[in-house]
């Protein structure tokens, strides 16, 4: 098992390297450099000497290849570089923002599973009933409603009808005030969780429908097991694999930050950090955040693979024989 994990991790290294090269090139090939991003049209008032001075300040005075190699050398030693705009090391900036994103992602995932799984199971068990129809309608709405609409609606209802807005740009960490923090993260998590619960519901439903037709379900029933036990222990467990797969992919996305929801609810998460880093051409930060997000994806993938073995004993990464 560990041997397998180690192999997988090593196999990911070229992927991460490729991503870092791609991002390095992309951000430099986009028109508009850090100086233009900072000064706007006033950049046109600079003399060449002034431009050179600012390039040196932003660390852009060296040839790109040299910039990349020295950056990579630092990354290997755990130093992601320095964000000129934030006046702090890139890793510090990321780690300051990451807890917000993790909390949001986990809460959104809990909400999605708490809604999606039972509704999906119920829809499959009561196939083509009113419950099924209602469940499918719910899924349709969830998939069709964009985050920015739902988020804005929630904010509108809260502020206009209840005169409250849990987060008005004053996010507090969960350690400082857990209750207020939960209030601030709950609504954005609901926004994210609602749309994802729809995919969970649909995946669960179709997987369950497939499994319910299997021979071993009939066997279980003929043994005289109670119906809920058949559904939960025999059917659901076997139907979980595709659900875990999409949940893993979704978790990867959520941990990469959810720009729109973070913007609407003013949460200082990874998504906004990445967006602003790109808009400001904060090269070190863009590279750092992207690498960090890529690493998250890789790790989530691994966790999903491990979860497979827990759900389905037939899946095993240990070499047999």
């Amino acid at each position: 098992m560990f041997r397998y994990l180690a192999q997988r991790l090593i196999a990911f290294l070229p992927t991460l390297l490729g991503i870092s090269i791609l991002v390095f090139l992309a951000i430099r090939l986009v028109p508009g450099d850090a100086i233009v991003a900072m000064l706007g049209t006033e950049a046109g008032m600079l003399t060449q000497t002034q431009r050179d001075a600012l390039e040196a300040y932003f660390g852009l005075d060296k040839p790109p290849l040299e910039q990349y190699v020295s950056w990579l050398g630092n990354v290997v030693q755990g130093n992601l570089g320095f964000s000129v705009r934030h006046g702090a090391p890139v890793l510090d900036v990321i780690l300051r923002r990451f807890p917000v994103t993790v909390e949001l992602a986990i809460l959104a995932m809990i909400i999605a599973l708490a809604i999606g799984l039972p509704v999906g199971v119920l829809s499959a068990v009561r196939h083509n009933s009113v419950i099924d129809l209602a469940g499918r309608l719910f899924a349709l709405i969830g998939l069709a409603m964009p985050n920015f609409l739902l988020g804005t609606l929630i904010i509108y209802v809260l502020s206009v009808y209840f005169s409250v807005l849990p987060n008005a740009g004053n996010y507090v960490g969960i350690a400082d005030d857990p209750l207020r923090n939960l209030g601030q993260v709950l609504f954005p998590a609901m926004t994210l969780g609602f749309s994802f619960s729809a995919s969970v519901m649909r995946t669960t439903r179709s997987a369950m429908l497939e499994v319910m037709g299997e021979d071993y379900i009939r066997t279980a029933r003929s043994k005289g097991l109670r119906e809920w036990r058949v559904v939960v222990r025999h059917a659901l467990r076997n139907a979980l694999i595709p659900v875990v797969t999409i949940a893993g992919v979704e978790m990867g996305y959520l941990l990469g930050g959810t720009v729109i929801v973070e913007e609407i609810f003013s949460l200082p998460g990874i998504g906004r950090l990445a967006l602003n880093a790109i808009l400001q051409r904060d090269y070190a930060l863009v590279q750092g955040v992207t690498l960090f997000i890529a690493l998250n994806f890789v790790l989530i993938n691994l966790i999903v693979d491990v979860l497979y073995t827990l759900i389905d004993p037939r899946v095993s990464y240990v070499r047999k024989g």
Partner: protein, 506 residues
């Protein structure tokens, strides 16, 4: 399942413990909580040009002079000043008893050090271009500074009112780090700046002026302006900066929120690149000018929130719009001009637009597109991210561009960059002629206000007739506040300097 929940709870707790401590909020009844969508991009007042940075730094740093709500130059760190009769020297008498936030005294040495820093090319101060006529600076005593100029330069006074000419302490310039600390003389002291989250300021008890009347300011970033409005409605914030007229106009009188608006001096403009065909032909540019109903652009893009403008936007230099070329839409004349240019069949005009900068940019372009279609000009709108747009704009790599350009208190400082032969942005302007160059040169040296007005009135008439750009309108700078916030004076420059006069009277 319960085990799953327990594991998650543990995870959440671990997460909480690892999350960084929240900023030490100076929360109290007398702290003004304000919000805005864009954050400061840096702390160095000499190199920052973003409006969002100005809004913070103008509370911390002060220039020698500043402008009031009517855009007159009024004292700040200088109590009085005078030009010599030939406008070759400018003498500043400094305010006494002013201290920097670190306790050190403000005197002539700091003024000299600050201007030397701006003029030093290694600083990268974009505003340096406005101060090139400074030949030397004398300090007859600790509180008098004499700027010796290489040529008569009246507009230099207006340029000195910019935050980009703010005074830093000479010690900070010598040994400090202006990019990461802010030590000024202004009404508020910077406590902490957490980028993209919150900035906290405390009142400067030793400020030379009257006030501040609040204990501090908590300046939050709420990236979505609709959410800022929601925060105002929910009573979570006291004061807000708004950019988008479509959001600002949602604040109605019965909502219990006070909307302030000040006529802006920044102007919305359609820039034509007269260096490119067929825009190099005067008739074509004039035809475009005659074919565009400026009021209609204003009405469709900004719900009529603003006023149609000529090139100069400060009240002191405005001319009657009917004196300007084709400010009444005249389609027949536009078609005649197109015919005179041999272009009755029309042509395709690419137009670059920055997405959301300003928020009305795309709507402006679409209104122009619809109007120019009537004289057979097919406008192709190219929307792009701001930095990409600015990159192409600076390289004059466009046929036409919808822009929101900043205004200045002084007309010379505002336009020397575009409409003089050696202006830094003359290639971006795409057009120059002897009349413009000469009028600008005269406007620079003329000290008599009436004569100066005449020079710049002539400049505007000529510029609109040559129609290198089509000036559209100026809109408003918006702020919004709870009714219990009093004393704020909205400024045409959008400056927040008057937060020093604000009181919270719940």
């Amino acid at each position: 399942m319960t085990r799953f929940v327990r594991v998650l709870l543990i995870l959440l707790v671990i997460l909480g413990m690892s999350s960084a401590a929240a900023p030490g909020l100076a929360q109290g009844d007398n702290v003004l909580i304000m919000a805005r969508a864009a954050d400061t991009t840096g702390l160095d007042p000499h190199t920052q040009t973003a409006f969002a940075s100005f809004r913070l730094l103008e509370l911390i740093y002060e220039p020698l002079v500043t402008s009031d709500a009517d855009l007159n130059i009024v004292p700040a760190l200088a109590e009085s000043w005078e030009f010599s009769d030939d406008a070759m020297t400018l003498t500043m008498h400094l305010r006494q008893g002013v201290t920097f936030h670190d306790g050190s005294d403000f005197n002539a040495e700091d003024v000299v050090a600050s201007f030397e820093r701006i003029l030093d090319e290694n600083t990268g101060a974009a505003t340096r271009a406005n101060f090139l006529s400074i030949e030397s600076i004398d300090t007859p005593d600790d509180y008098t500074v004499v700027f010796n100029l290489s040529q008569p330069d009246v507009p230099i006074l207006g340029a000195m009112s910019s935050l980009n000419a703010a005074i830093m302490s000479s010690e900070m310039i010598a040994t400090g780090d202006p990019a990461n600390e802010a030590i000024g003389t202004g009404p508020f002291i910077l406590d902490e700046w957490i980028p993209e989250e919150v900035t906290t300021l405390t009142a400067n008890p030793d400020w030379w002026g009257e006030g501040p009347y609040v204990d501090g300011i908590e300046m939050r970033v709420i990236p979505d302006e609709a959410s800022i409005l929601a925060a105002l409605r929910a009573g979570e914030i006291d004061f807000a900066l708004l950019n988008d007229p479509l959001v600002a106009t949602l604040i109605t009188e019965d909502s219990g929120i006070v909307l302030n608006r000040a006529p802006a001096i920044a102007y919305h403009v359609l820039q034509l690149n007269a260096a490119r065909e067929p825009l190099d032909r005067l008739e074509v540019r004039q035809a475009i000018s005659c074919a565009i109903d400026r009021q209609e652009v204003l009405d469709t893009a900004a719900l009529g929130q603003g006023r149609v403008t000529g090139p100069l936007t400060t009240p002191a230099y405005r001319v009657p719009l009917e004196d300007l070329f084709c400010y009444q839409r005249d389609l027949n004349r536009a078609r005649e001009l197109m015919a005179a240019a041999g272009l009755e069949e029309g042509f395709t005009l690419p137009m670059i637009v920055a997405s959301a900068e300003p928020p009305t940019a795309i709507a402006e372009a679409q209104s122009i597109q619809a109007q120019l279609a009537e004289i057979n000009i097919t406008v192709e709108i190219e929307t792009m991210e701001l930095s990409v747009y600015v990159d192409r704009w600076l390289a004059a790599d466009f046929d036409s561009a919808v822009a929101l350009n900043g205004g200045r208190v002084d007309p010379y400082t505002m336009y020397a960059r575009y409409w003089t032969r050696d202006g830094n942005l003359n290639t971006v302007a795409g057009y120059i002629d002897d009349t413009l160059d000469e009028l600008m040169a005269r406007g620079r040296t003329e000290t008599d206000p009436d004569a100066r007005y005449e020079i710049f009135a002539e400049f505007q008439r000529h510029l609109t007739e040559m129609a290198p750009w089509i000036w559209l309108y100026t809109d408003y700078e918006y702020t919004a506040q709870q009714p219990y916030v009093t004393g704020f004076i909205p400024m045409p420059t959008d400056s927040l300097y008057y937060l020093s006069q604000v009181r919270i009277e719940r």
